[in-house]
Subunit: 118 residues, 2 copies
Amino acid sequence: MKSAPAHQRCAVEAALDAIGGKWKGLILYHLTRSGTLRFNELKRLLPGVTQRMLTKQLRELEAEALVLRTVYAEVPPRVEYRLSAEGLELRPVIEALREWGVRRENSRGAGTAHAHAC
Amino acid sequence: MKSAPAHQRCAVEAALDAIGGKWKGLILYHLTRSGTLRFNELKRLLPGVTQRMLTKQLRELEAEALVLRTVYAEVPPRVEYRLSAEGLELRPVIEALREWGVRRENSRGAGTAHAHAC
DNA sequence: CAGGATCCCGCGAGATACTG
DNA sequence: CAGTATCTCGCGGGATCCTG
């Protein structure tokens, strides 16, 4: 737990603290789409992320109880990540954000073609 | 021609790029609530932000066409910030985020009293 | 009041090597 | 495969001073 700055935090501030990390938004987005993802699957979906950063972001999301981590005692090891109940409640937020992004994308390059990789 | 990163950016990625800065979420939130805010008003609403950072974040939001900046030729100078039409369309996102934050806040400290400063 | 210009430091984050 | 452990560097961002 982090030391509170003794400042009256509003809900939006707290929310942004929980999901505002560099890769957290995208991680949550991909988990809402895929349901369950292994470490390397997630890594492939996040172009440019390093293992170190991905691990760190996942650990923080886990600490916020937004993401669940399941380790299977196998060889080779398998670790799966999925949203917790609390994390699933972020879906409306993510969906609204996605819709905004799509509308924005369309109203910009009004003529050009659009391919969606994700 | 630029060397293409050859990576297909999705709408969510682009959206997070636009509003993912350190203070941008909170700035947008306060602008949705207040409609119009002067520089120092905004600064007071963001505890811990420095002028430098606030200026930088506002400039970036302006460059993304999410925030409009109006300068009044007065003495002392007055500068007002408000959301553009495109920025206003973020309201559903921000509102969904706020609701999530409030629900989360309540389900955590289930017994304790809650005062809302903002 | 609303910034711009400078200086400067810490740590965020990349690269690499190693491991259960 | 899914991570830790180190070392390292750059720049994000704070502090301070100046100005229209």
